[in-house]
Amino acid sequence: MSAVVEDIQRPERSKPLIARIDWVKASPWLYTIALFAIWEASVRVFDLPYTVLPAPSRIFAALYQYWSPIWKNSLQTLYTTTLGFLMAVVGGLALGLFIGWSKVIYAGLYPLMIGFNAVPKVAVVPILVIWFGIGAVPAMLTAFLISFFPIVVNVATGLATIEPETEDVLRALGAKKIDIMLKVGIPRSMPYFFGSLKVAITLAFVGSVVSETVASNYGLGNLMSSAQSQFNVPLVFAGLLALAVEGIVMYSIMAWVEKRMTGWAHRSTMSH
């Protein structure tokens, strides 16, 4: 759960600067800066060749130098990832509701889903290439396949964990299965659903980049694999950095959506 940051305005002006900084808000930035600083220092102290581990300064230089291809390929990756993710949202929600609907369907499909999820998606990419050729489609589908599972599981769990008392109260009033699902099951599974989006979006990036690396002429995955074949290690790292930024941005959007849509679940205790 999110920590509440108390913003107490102290009237005394005389307080030193160090006491007026909101350390909780500042710390993500400070830690990131510290990471890069330590990295930079280590590379310099141990005199590592840039083909092994380039210093951040070198990576930023590469980022500047290759800005145009990085920007284009980042957009491409973002595009395939987002499309695959959206497919996973729609498909995962639908299948999750379907699975959570009845115990029989749940029991029947669950082992299949687990087996399916255990298959490494890298191994699926060649099959997708046979079906759809190289390019954006396999990347999109890999993103879809990999991010779809957590959504299904979470939605189904939300539906399967309706309190028996609530169900009894409603059934005693003559509620049909559909009533219970609409009034209780679906609203109840929404926090699980929105929570799973945060996991799913990061996985979607994994899927699309893996596929781009193996079988595409576009995207950050492809950019990094060709940079690697030319021993342009700073560019590889620049690609990784771009991916990390995209990942953080998309994650924050999902976290924000989650908070907006299901604020009640964060303030209440969803125990029992």
Partner: protein
Amino acid sequence: MTHLVSIENVDMRYGGASGTLAVADLTFKVDKGEFAAVVGPSGCGKSTLMRLVTGLHIPQAGNVIVAGQHVTEPVSIVGMAFQNPSMLPWRTTLDNILLPLEIVERHRKRLRAHRAEYVEKAEHLLEVVGLKDFGSKYPWQLSGGMQQRANLCRALIHEPQLLMLDEPFGALDAFTREELWCVIRDLHAAQDVTIILVTHDLREAVFLADKILVMSARPGRVLREHRVPFARPRDLEITYDQAFNDVVHQLHGEIANARRAA
């Protein structure tokens, strides 16, 4: 003729023919407007009894007749309240209370057109249980006792003829519990409702009920039926009377015996 609930020689077994027998040869009647309490050792099938009367379970043998009808499916003339208030956290208290109206056949059709009328009724109920002006609050903004009050409102909103309470105050502190006893007592006096209360608390049973059914250990059946002799309206003070404590004491002895017999 005036029996609202009539259970005759009912057997209920869970989990197929070789499963556990929860109640055996269960027989009792509750009159219209009566307040009955069911007490007994734990695992005596009190919850099964609740589910039989409401039609959530259909027995393998015997008859369950509620309001003159054989129960073969859930009967919507009942309201239920459990120990767990199970309010839905995404609805305000008022919307939680209105939930049964969205389900019960004869209300759901007119809910949209007559919403104001129903809201007024819910607000009246909230006032009766001492939750005036709390309707717009979310359940997680209420204390446990307040949630349980709201739970009672939800059980009563569709004007059930029969109110089934399953240890509704089990999780509350002693003072809140006594307050809610009085709320239930007043609801029963003011409205034309029959109540069956399942409880572990013998003082609660004696204070509230007209009739107390003592059940045996599993498989449950009714061992004895007591009439509670105290006149209504009852004041909380009577719980300190000798006569009151004698009844509680006697019940306690009977349940201890039933436990030993098991």
